[in-house]
């Protein structure tokens, strides 16, 4: 795990001095505190900061082959590097180190641009082919590791985080991207290559960007393709669960590869409990596990966490998120997320990664991804009920099934029968829409747009973010089952842009911790995507095949537990007895709101007052509050250039 950066010029541009690469690397020191390196190669400069995990002695970067025809910086892990290495040695390649880094170089020399399809891992790569004079930027299949780029004055800059681009270009114009803000307030994250910043692109997951003299080609090498309805594997639940268990055992075994000790996050739910059980099968060493607890019972899962820790005999450590902690963390959090966020959930996870690091660990396995791969969210159940209801819209009892959703919420949208039917009945008959499963979520988040300033709304007038997203969807998606369509959209929006980023890589790396996600091993995803939906969502029980696969390893109380999504207190986190920290009041002040020009000051002030009075009960007000505050901090730090931490 590391940070990477660099820049490449065209034949007409003058390349910045190496000192710029050093400045980029310094800004990424949190991603790689164990060392750094810069290599100037004529028309390109590569930089790297290292968090050493595999081959501590010789894995330094930038790295080249013997003949120095291929240079590489890379962030992440290649979990199947030992198998690739053996294959490459059998093909005549000679290795100098034990690192996974060197494997990438030889894989490129052997297989050309198709090397990336051979990698099982989580990675962001910059590879310079000296003889071909071509740069390849590559990103893992689901977007676990970040990679951004920006062109300025004929030079293309790239880096693991936007702050390194800003360090390289302190005098360039830095603005928030208006459409990026529109997407974040609606979808919970930016989508595709769009970011929070104008002129800054994110390399999308499963893509390579090839830069050669005079051309730049973006290629997709992997996608969350699902098998068409009716053509899925014909397999029994028993056979599927056994195959899945073997696959997960292998994925976990690969991801336990490290030359440093590996711990695990334990939320108390099925996914992380199953993961810990799988690790325990593979290792005799007593496992260290980590979790967050909350004082508010609505959010706290301590009892479940302790039950699993006792059952699986782990050494369990807990960080307790107390009132005021989220507010104290928030400016630093946004400096790391580099994005508008609508929920505070990433803040306690940043506290958790600090606990991991202070406990002497650099690597943790997490249960992230299982809900997307196996259909775990209530959103998927909600869509299933809506589709069932839409077949008989006059049915009185079909919508009664909504009462089974969201049992963990204090103010549940399913709480009142008549209104839940009206809420979930929005666009009920539009079952062919690729966004059918997301209709109700986006109906709530769309309200955030109401706070935007007249200037911003003017820019967004006539722009339909759903239509733009629809154009990025696979052409054959209409042949998939409804659940598969919902899963694809979820993976393209919330998982990629928020869970793996703001709540994943960025908050772990804030404390120099690498998170690994075995449920997103591409073989696991491809296995699940070929199954019929009924093996995932079965009679409104989520993740059926995963539950069955993990059943032999866990007590029934855990296997049968209904999913409780991880959440943290939102606007209430920022007020103690009606008082907010000075920086929150400042960001919501009329002067500061007018300076940024993003939100209507009078509306934002009223929202602030409603939250201060403790009257913000629902998702909508809470999301708007956190969305405005995070955006204002983002603007202050990255556009105005002020130091806020």
């Amino acid at each position: 795990m590391c940070g990477i950066a660099g820049y490449i010029g065209s034949s007409f541009s003058k390349l910045p001095a190496d000192e710029v690469a050093h400045a980029m690397a310094r800004s990424l020191a949190h991603r790689g505190p164990d060392g750094s390196g810069v290599k100037a190669l004529g028309s390109i400069v590569l930089a790297h900061t290292r968090l050493s995990i595999i081959d501590l002695a010789t894995g330094h970067q930038p790295m080249a082959d013997d003949a120095e025809t291929v240079w590489l910086v890379f962030n992440g892990e290649i979990f199947n590097y030992l198998e690739l290495r053996a294959e490459l040695i059998s093909l005549g390649h000679r290795f100098r180190t034990q690192s996974d880094t060197e494997t990438i170089i030889h894989a490129y020399r052997q297989w050309g641009d198709a090397f990336v399809e051979r990698l099982n891992g989580q990675f962001a790569i910059a590879l310079w082919d000296v003889l071909g004079r071509r740069l390849i930027l590559a990103r893992d299949r689901t977007g676990i590791r970040p990679l951004f780029y920006r062109e300025h004055a004929g030079v293309l800059y790239f880096a693991s985080e936007v702050k390194a681009l800003r360090a390289a270009l302190p005098h360039a114009s830095w603005k928030l991207d208006t459409k990026g803000l529109g997407q974040a307030l609606l979808f919970w994250s930016t989508v595709g290559d769009r970011t929070a910043f104008e002129e800054v692109s994110s390399l999308p997951p499963g893509h390579c960007l090839v830069i050669e003299e005079g051309s730049r080609t973006l290629k997709r090498y992997w996608d969350w393709n699902f098998t068409a309805s009716g053509s899925q594997r014909q397999i029994s639940m028993e056979a599927a669960s056994e195959e899945l268990r073997a696959l997960l055992q292998d994925a976990v075994q690969l991801q336990l590869r490290a030359d440093v000790p590996v711990g695990a996050y334990l939320s108390g739910g099925l996914d992380s409990s199953g993961l810990v059980a799988l690790i325990r099968q593979r290792s005799d060493v007593r496992l260290r596990t980590f979790s967050v607890s909350f004082g508010d019972a609505e959010f706290d899962e301590s009892a479940q966490q302790m039950e699993v820790a006792r059952y699986l005999e782990t050494d369990h450590a807990v960080v307790r998120c107390l009132p005021g902690d989220i507010a104290r963390q928030f400016p630093r959090l946004i400096a790391h997320t580099e994005a508008t966020i609508l929920r505070t959930g990433p803040a306690p996870l940043m506290m958790l990664s600090r606990l991991v690091r202070e406990s002497g660990f650099k690597v943790v396995l997490t249960g992230e991804g299982a809900d997307e791969v196996f259909g775990g969210y209530d959103l998927f159940k909600e869509a299933a009920i809506r589709r069932f209801w839409a077949r008989q819209p006059k049915s009185r009892w079909r919508p009664e099934l909504f009462a089974r959703l969201y049992p963990y919420l204090r103010n549940s949208p399913a709480g009142n029968r008549a209104f839940s039917h009206a809420f979930f009945g929005q666009e009920l008959l539009d079952t062919a829409s690729p966004f059918y499963g997301h209709t109700t979520r986006w109906a709530t988040s769309r309200r955030n747009w109401g706070f935007l300033s007249g200037d911003v709304r003017h820019v967004l007038q006539g722009w339909r973010p759903e239509e733009e997203l629809a154009q990025q969807l696979p052409k054959d998606m209409g042949r998939w089952e409804g659940l598969a369509r919902d899963q694809y959209v979820e993976a393209s929006t919330l998982l990629y842009g928020y869970l793996l980023s703001s709540q994943g890589d960025r908050v772990a790396m804030a404390n120099s911790v690498e998170g690994r996600v075995p449920y997103l091993d591409h073989r696991v995803i491809e296995f699940a995507n070929a199954l019929p939906a009924r093996l995932k969502l079965r009679r409104l029980r989520e993740k059926a095949v995963l539950r069955q696969a993990l059943r032999p390893m866990l007590p029934s109380s855990i296997v049968n537990r209904t999913k409780q999504p991880y959440r943290a207190p939102d606007s209430a986190s920022f007020f103690e007895a009606g008082h907010a920290p000075e920086y929150v009041r400042h960001q919501f002040s009329a002067g500061r709101l007018a300076e940024a020009g993003l939100f209507e000051p009078a509306m934002a002030s009223r929202l602030f007052e409603k939250c201060r009075a403790g009257k913000a009960l629902g998702f909508a007000d809470n999301m708007a509050f956190v969305g405005i505050l995070s955006t204002m901090i983002l603007e202050d730090k990255f556009v105005q250039g002020r130091s806020l931490e």
Binding site: P413, A418, F423, T444, R447, A602, R606, F619, A620
Partner: protein
Amino acid sequence: MASQQIKDFILKNFLFTDDASALKNDQSLMSSGVLDSTGILELITYVEDTFGIKVSDDEMLPGNFDSVDAVSAFVSRKQKGA
């Protein structure tokens, strides 16, 4: 007058504005995104506190709460003891 009070409450609490043109009296509050399902709870609490009435479970219907006109007609009926 109840109608104006209700409209003012919705404008200030859900649309965060004083601009009366932002909301028509017959506009559906749910389908136009003014209220989500938890917003309904806030609106009902406000109506109970402000007009001294009790809203029973079987009165919590979109027909009674989905527009300014619907809420004011409901309040009026309740105050008359209908």
